[in-house]
């Protein structure tokens, strides 16, 4: 579930409030949005993908709240790691351009992916 909106990184653009499909954030005037409905988070990571300053962190467990340390996440390079993997960071190249799913299927001996 969503565990962090970094007040130090956030620029209050409220893109996360707009793009979250389950409406977990609440916008505030001139401040970072708050996580208002954490239990509604479906752990899809898309808010991270859209955040232009890598201020958000979604812990992969969809059912359980965990405490996270911004400092630790930042040191480990976890903030923005999904956006980088998609190639959505500034100056990045879309990962889709480089995927080799058709080659993988031949290697795995399967016809389907999903």
């Amino acid at each position: 579930m969503i565990e962090l909106v970094s007040a130090s990184r956030c620029i209050s653009c409220n893109i996360c409030v707009k793009v979250c499909p389950t409406n977990v954030f609440e916008a505030r005037e001139d401040e970072a949005p708050v996580i208002a409905r954490q239990n509604d988070c479906q752990t899809c990571f898309l808010c991270e993908a859209y955040c232009p300053v890598d201020a958000l962190f979604v812990f992969p467990d969809a059912h359980r709240h965990v405490e996270v340390s911004e400092e630790l996440l930042s040191d480990r390079g976890d903030l923005g790691s999904y956006r980088r993997a998609l190639g959505w960071s500034t100056g990045g190249d879309p990962a889709a351009l480089h995927e080799k799913v058709h080659v993988l299927r031949v290697m795995a001996g399967t016809g389907a992916i999903g």
Partner: protein, 531 residues
């Protein structure tokens, strides 16, 4: 009551902004219709596709390849698919993928040509939103629909809902409505499915539509126990083991069997390890590029899935990957109710999959094809009505809602999510679940427009009704199919029964009626090839 409501008029209203909804909206706009698209969340991130990567059932238009593609899933689907529909979907998917390319999707290239076989959800749905907006479609985000509007003759003529971020009601009067609300995963938290609560089924059912194949609603996906990512293709590189470390033989010919995993899971933990790619760094790199979010649960939990085994579980995907849905009556994806069209997972996918669906490839092809036809069909229907449609008197078709929605949702989940109730079905089990669910439905209150609560409460109360209704249609149909076919697995009837090679059609929200429909007679394959 909400004040300051938003009132709009459009030729076509599309409910749902995933792949099926965006293709419907774009095609309706191309056909000259004015279009409003409403999404419960955000068109671009809502639904099962946006956070996923998906292969697409796209086969070059050569007879031999296509015959092979069609034959491949025949037995798995329980011989309920229709070759004409498969041909149409293959044709439309081929041309739609050319459009996606022309719109600038970053397909990989090989020898100067784009390779159009896979779509990464975040890229695809971000692009579809842009394309739809550019076509002049008005998009309302965070605007769940709550009920359809019908005219005096029973034609569907719009919908009503709420805007959860503005705390106001919206009403769209339209000539036709496309339901593209996705399947129903019963709030299992399968990746990207928590908006997929069966709302569109409820709306359609209340307006009198029929459903086909609702017994094919028992699809489960493998997930780590510590993560939400239910994308399963990468498990063709896995070996699944039990507590003792013995291989449970869940992977055959590169495909894993959810049922084998399920049988072991009922008795104890199951582990997986992507061991077949352990010594293959090039495969590992490809796997990361193919599905970047697959690795987030591992990377963030400090687990290397190639080098160590990790606990897995099964998560219900219901009719998202299951194939049941609104019965469509013709090539425009019209339902049995005039003015109401269905597309994507909201519509039955039996036409191309029968009772089985493995990966997302057929689903992606179906969403973009059925979305296109539904959009065109709805536009044609609406434009034929002309200006006279604006003078119709409309009423809400919504009937039931729960005030104690959280309790109702908990009850539905406890009947639908457990493997021993839904994956392995029995007569006694289904009867016992139906007694609970029918009792729950009887306790629902009337849907009223005079609500005291906020927009989210209104949304939740109808989601609870939709989940309950969907569960009842699924289990009513499952009880009637006294055999195992496709994904529908009856422990008391483990064999396929040739006499039951037919579609099961359910309808009705209070009393549920069930009837049978014979599938389209099939020509022997050799006749098709020579024809």
């Amino acid at each position: 009551m909400f004040s300051d409501g938003l009132e709009l008029d459009a030729d076509v209203l599309v409910i749902g902004g995933g792949p099926a909804g965006t293709w419907a909206a774009w095609n309706a706009a191309q056909a000259g219709a004015s279009v409003v698209l409403v999404d419960k969340g955000y068109c671009g991130s809502s639904g099962a596709t946006a956070p996923s990567g998906t292969g697409v059932w796209v086969i070059p238009p050569t007879t031999e390849d296509r015959e092979k593609a069609k034959a491949q899933r025949e037995a798995l689907g329980g011989y309920l698919a229709d070759h004409d529909w498969m041909d149409r979907v293959l044709d439309r998917t081929w041309s739609n993928m050319e459009l996606v390319d022309s719109w600038g999707y970053p397909f990989p290239r090989e020898e100067g040509k784009t390779v159009r076989r896979n779509l990464q959800g975040p890229e695809y749905m971000r692009l579809m939103r842009k394309v739809v907006a550019r076509a002049g479609v008005k998009i309302l985000d965070h605007s769940p629909a709550l009920e359809l509007l019908v005219d005096g003759n029973g034609n569907v003529a719009g919908a009503r809902g709420v805007q959860t971020q503005e705390e106001r009601e919206w009403t769209v009067r339209s000539g036709a409505v496309v339901i593209a609300t996705g399947g129903c995963a019963f709030l299992s938290k399968a990746l990207g499915t928590n908006n997929n609560t069966g709302d569109g089924y409820l709306f359609a059912g209340e307006a009198g539509a029929e459903f086909s194949g609702m017994e094919f609603s028992s699809q489960y996906a493998v997930s780590t126990v510590f993560g939400s990512v239910t994308k399963t293709a990468h498990y063709s590189w896995a070996v699944f083991t039990n507590e003792a470390g013995e291989d449970i033989q869940a992977v055959k010919d590169g495909h894993h069997s959810a049922a084998t995993i399920g049988r072991t899971l009922i008795h104890g933990p199951v582990y997986a390890q992507l061991i077949k790619a352990k010594e293959r760094p090039e495969v590992q790199a490809f796997l990361r590029l193919a599905q970047p979010n697959f690795f987030l649960p591992f990377d963030r939990s400090g687990i290397n899935p190639f080098n160590e085994r990790f606990p897995v579980t099964l998560v219900l995907e219901g009719t998202v990957r299951g194939t049941g849905g609104i019965r469509i009556t013709d090539e425009t994806c019209a339902s049995t109710v005039p003015g109401l069209y269905a597309a994507g997972d909201a519509a039955t996918r039996e036409r191309i999959c029968g009772g089985f669906t493995g990966g997302g490839s057929h689903n992606a092809a179906w969403a973009m094809s059925s979305g296109s036809w539904a959009g065109e069909g709805a536009a044609d229907f609406a434009l034929r009505l002309g200006a006279s449609r604006k003078s119709r008197r409309l009423t809400g078709a919504g009937t039931s809602a729960f005030t104690e929605s959280d309790a109702a949702i908990k009850t539905v989940k406890s009947e639908m999510l457990p493997l021993e109730k839904n994956m392995f079905r029995t007569d006694a089990g289904l009867r016992s679940s139906l007694a609970v669910l029918n009792g729950l439905w009887a306790s629902a209150g009337a849907r009223t427009t005079d609500r005291g609560g906020d927009a989210r409460d209104a949304q939740r109360s109808r989601e609870a009704a939709a989940l309950t209704a969907t569960a009842r249609w699924a289990y009513t149909s499952a009880l009637a199919r006294t055999e195992s076919r496709g994904m529908h697995r009856r422990s008391d009837f483990p064999q396929i029964d040739p006499l039951q090679q037919r579609h099961q059609i359910v309808s009705g929200v209070d009393a549920i009626a069930l009837r049978y429909e014979q599938p389209v007679p099939r020509l022997p394959v050799r006749d098709l090839v020579s024809a």
